[in-house]
Amino acid sequence: MLNMELSRDIVAARPMLARDADSMYWMSRYVERAEHAARLLLITSNVLIDVGDLAPSLQARQWQSLLTILRCSELAETNGDIGQRVAQSLTFGETNTNSILNCLIRARENARGIRENISAEMWENLNMLYWSLNGDDAKARFEESPDDLYRSVMTGSMLFQGLTDQTLAHDQRWHFAQLGKSLERIDVTCRVIETKYEILKSFEQQLESTIRNIHWMAVLRSCCSIEAYRRNYLGEMDPVRVAAFLILEKDFPRSVRFSVGEARAAISGIREVAHAGLIDPAERILGRLEAQLDYAEMTEILAEGIPNYVQRIQAAVNDAALAVQQTYFLH
C-alpha cells in the first residue's frame, strides 16, 4: 500500500519552455566565455612579463591573437601601448561584444529571464560577478590590479559552474547549461590551439628554446592545463605533445575530446526528455565527432595539419549549435 502511495508522487519530468532553454544555454555559454577572456588576458600579460622586451613584434602578435581567439574585430589604429588597449577593450569595452563586461551583462540578462529556472545560489553568484565588473569601484579595482580582477572573474565562473552542478536538478535545464558550457569551451580551446600554433611556428627560428618553452607553457595555462600536462609528460615542452594533450586527452576536463563527450552526453539527455528513442541532428554531429576523437591518431592529425584539424572541429561544433537552435529554441 505504502509503495503505491509513493509511486503516485513521482511525477514525470516537465519539459521546459523553448525560450527558457535558449536562455539557459546562452547564460552558461557567456559565463564560460567571460572566464576564457579573463584567463587569456591574465596569462598573456604574465607571459610578457616573463619574456620581457625580447621580441616586440611577437608581443604585438600575442596581444592581437587574443582578439582573434575571442572573435573580436581589430582595434582601430592609434598610438599607445597595444597591451593596455587590448586589455581595456576585452575587459570593459562597451562596443566589443565579447568583452568580459558584455559577456557578463548578457549572461545575467539571460539569467534574469529564467530566474525561476535556476537556483537562488546560481543567481546570487552571477549577480555578484556582474556587479564586480559593473559596480562603481570596478574600474578602480582594475587599475590597481588587473590580475585580481581577472582571477575573481575566473573563480566566479567556476563557482557558478560548481553551483550549477550542486544546486540544480540534473534535468533538461542542467543539460542545456552543460551543453552551452561545453560547446563554448571546445570552440575557444580550438581557437587557442589554432592561433597560437601558427604564431609560434612562424617565430620558431627566432626564439631560444627557454623562451619558446615559456610560450608553450602559456598556451597550456590559457587552457587551464599546465599542471595536468606536467604530470603526464614530466614537464617536457613539445608543441606536438601540447597539441595532442589539449585535443585528445581522455580524462582531462579541459581537453577538446573530453568536452565533446560532455556536449554529446548533454544533448542526449535533452533529446531523451523531448523525443525519447530518436536521434536528433545535433546529437548525430556530436556523436560522430566524439567517435572521431576517441579513435584519432596524432600522426594523422599532423599529416592534415593541426590548424586544419581544429578548424574542422570548430565547423562541426558550429553546425551542432545551429541544429540545437533549430530543434529546441525555434518552436
Binding site: L17, A21, R115, E116, N127
Partner: protein, 487 residues
C-alpha cells in the same frame, strides 16, 4: 537616539505625543537604543548589499532600457497589535467578498444598477468596464482572486481604505523579501515579539489558482504571464513563479489552438489551464482588446470564455477598483451583505456629480484630486501644495471630463520613524495588505508598509521614490512585557 525625534502633531505609529513609545513598540525602541547608531548604520549597509546581490530590484522607465533600482528598504519594522489587526482582517474579508459579488452582479443581473444604488452611467463610463465579459461565467464565480487594499491612518489613528487594487496588485514579493532580509540582519529584534508568519503566501496563492482550474484538468498546467524582463514588476513575477514552482511565460511563448492555451516547450506544446496573468486586460488578446498588443495571445479570450482556461484575476475587475466606483463600496457592502462597512472609506467627491464638482472646483486648494483610471501616483493633484497655475490646469481638466476625476480631503497620513542619513525622522506611511480569494478568503497577516522618503511628502508609491519596511502583525496574547514601559 530618538532624543530629537519630532512627532509634529501627527499620528505617530511609535511614539505618543508625550514622547513615550506605545506599549507594543516599547521593547523594539529599547533594543534599538541598546544597539546604537553606528551598529544600526552598519546593518543598513549590509541590507543594501544583500538586496543588490540578490537582484531584488524594480525598473524605472527613464531610458529605453530602463534602470534597475533597489526598492529602498527601511530597517525599522512597523508593529501592528493583534486586536488592531483583527478588525483590519475582518474589514478586508468583508470588503473583498462584497467587491466580488459586485463584479458578479455587474456582469450578470445588474441588480445594484436596477435598484439605483449606483448610477448606471458611472459603470458604463468606466474605462475598465468590459462588455466582453457580460454573461460570461467565470470559474467558481470568483473575479478578484488577488487583491491589494491600501490602508491609511488619519490624525486620530483610525484606519481608512484609500483604494482597492483588484486588477494586478504588485508588491507582495517585497513583503516576503523584506521579512527574509530582516530575519537575516536583525534576528535579535524578533526575539521580543511573536510575529505572525507570512511565508505561506505563495502556497496559498497556488492553492487559490488550483481551485479555479477547469474540470478537465487533473493536474492543471499553471503559469504566470509576465510582460517580460523590462517590466517594472518583473522581479515579482519571477519571484512568485519560483516560489510556487510554476512556469513564467511571456506572450510569445503561448499559442491558442482549438480553444485551448498552450506553451511552446522543448518537447512541443503543453497545455496551460490556469494563468495568473500580470498583464492588463487591454493587452491580453489582440483579437479582443488592443490590436497592437504583442504581450498577449490571439484567441486567449475565446479560450477563457468557453471555460478551457481560468484567468486570475478575471477580466473586467477594473470596474470595481475604479476610483469613481470606490465611494460606493460601503453601499455595496450594505446591499450584498446587509452589513455596515468595518473599514471606512475616505470621504470622496465624485466630479461627475454636479453638486460635488461645484464644491471641488471651489475648494481645489484644500483637496487631493485623482484621475479615476490612473495608479502609481500618476495623474494626481495635491491641491494644498500645488502652485496656482497647476490648480487652474486641473480645474480645466475636471470641467472637460468630470467622469475622470474624484477629490478627497487631504489625509494627514500617520508617520513612523525612518533612518535618514544618520538619525531617525518621521516619515509618512501607508499599508497594503494582500488578500486571496480561493476556497476561502485569506488575508496575509502583514503587508507592504510603504514609506514616503521625503520629509512631509504624502506620496508613498515606489515609482515616486517611496520605500518600504517590514510589517509585523503580532500574535494574540503576545504583547511584549517590558517593565520600563510607562504607557
Amino acid at each position: 537616539m530618538f532624543d530629537n525625534y519630532q512627532v509634529d502633531g501627527l499620528f505617530d505609529e511609535v511614539f505618543q505625543a508625550s514622547g513615550q513609545p506605545r506599549s507594543h513598540y516599547a521593547s523594539l525602541v529599547s533594543r534599538l537604543k541598546g544597539l546604537g547608531l553606528p551598529a544600526f548604520e552598519r546593518r543598513r549597509r549590509m541590507t543594501d548589499v544583500l538586496f543588490r546581490n540578490q537582484g531584488i530590484t524594480f525598473t524605472v522607465y527613464s531610458d529605453a532600457r530602463g534602470v534597475e533600482k533597489i526598492f529602498p528598504f527601511d530597517l525599522v519594522p512597523r508593529v501592528v497589535p493583534a486586536d488592531e489587526w483583527d478588525s483590519i482582517e475582518r474589514g478586508l474579508v468583508q470588503r473583498l467578498t462584497a467587491l466580488n459579488l459586485f463584479c458578479q452582479d455587474i456582469y450578470h443581473d445588474q441588480r445594484i444598477l436596477k435598484e439605483r444604488i449606483i448610477p448606471p452611467e458611472l459603470i458604463y463610463g468606466a474605462k475598465m468596464f468590459r462588455r466582453e465579459m457580460f454573461g460570461v461565467r467565470v470559474p467558481r464565480g470568483i473575479y478578484i482572486h488577488i487583491c491589494g487594499t491600501d490602508l491609511i491612518r488619519d490624525k486620530d489613528g483610525k484606519y481608512y481604505v484609500l483604494e482597492d487594487n483588484g486588477r494586478t496588485p504588485s508588491g507582495v514579493s517585497y513583503v516576503l523579501e523584506n521579512r527574509a532580509v530582516m530575519k537575516r540582519v536583525f534576528p535579535a529584534l524578533f526575539s521580543a515579539y511573536r510575529v505572525r508568519a507570512i511565508e505561506d503566501y505563495p502556497y496559498n496563492l497556488l492553492q487559490c489558482l488550483k481551485y479555479i482550474a477547469p474540470n478537465h484538468a487533473d493536474d492543471p498546467g499553471i503559469a504566470i504571464l509576465t510582460p517580460g524582463i523590462y517590466n517594472s514588476a518583473y522581479f515579482e513575477h519571477s519571484f512568485l513563479a519560483r516560489q510556487m514552482g510554476v512556469e513564467l511565460v511571456e506572450g510569445r511563448d503561448l499559442i491558442v489552438d482549438r480553444g485551448f492555451l498552450y506553451m511552446r516547450t522543448t518537447a512541443g506544446l503543453r497545455r496551460i489551464d490556469v494563468l495568473y496573468r500580470r498583464v492588463d486586460d487591454d493587452f491580453l488578446d489582440p483579437l479582443c482588446f488592443r490590436p497592437d498588443s504583442a504581450l498577449g495571445v490571439p484567441g486567449m479570450m475565446n479560450a477563457y470564455r468557453v471555460g478551457n482556461l481560468a484567468l486570475a484575476n478575471a477580466v473586467g475587475t477594473g470596474v470595481s477598483d475604479d476610483k469613481a466606483i470606490y465611494p460606493f463600496v460601503p453601499d455595496m457592502i450594505k446591499f450584498y451583505l446587509g452589513q455596515e462597512a468595518i473599514l471606512p472609506n475616505v470621504p470622496t467627491y465624485i466630479c461627475a456629480r454636479d453638486i460635488d464638482r461645484k464644491f471641488v472646483l471651489e475648494n481645489l486648494d484644500k483637496l487631493v484630486v485623482k484621475s479615476t483610471n490612473e495608479s502609481g501616483g500618476y495623474g494626481m493633484l495635491m491641491g494644498h501644495q500645488a502652485p496656482e497655475a497647476e490648480r487652474a490646469e486641473f480645474a480645466e481638466k475636471i470641467k472637460e471630463d468630470p467622469r475622470n476625476f474624484i477629490a478627497q480631503p487631504v489625509v494627514q497620513l500617520s508617520q513612523h520613524p525612518s533612518f535618514v542619513e544618520d538619525h531617525f525622522e518621521g516619515r509618512r506611511v501607508d499599508l497594503r495588505p494582500y488578500i486571496l480569494y480561493g476556497e476561502k478568503v485569506i488575508v496575509m497577516p502583514g503587508g507592504l508598509t510603504r514609506v514616503a522618503l521625503r520629509r512631509g511628502s504624502l506620496v508613498v508609491n515606489s515609482s515616486q521614490g517611496g520605500g518600504s519596511k517590514d510589517t509585523w502583525v503580532l500574535e494574540e496574547d503576545a504583547q511584549p512585557v517590558t517593565p520600563d514601559t510607562t504607557a
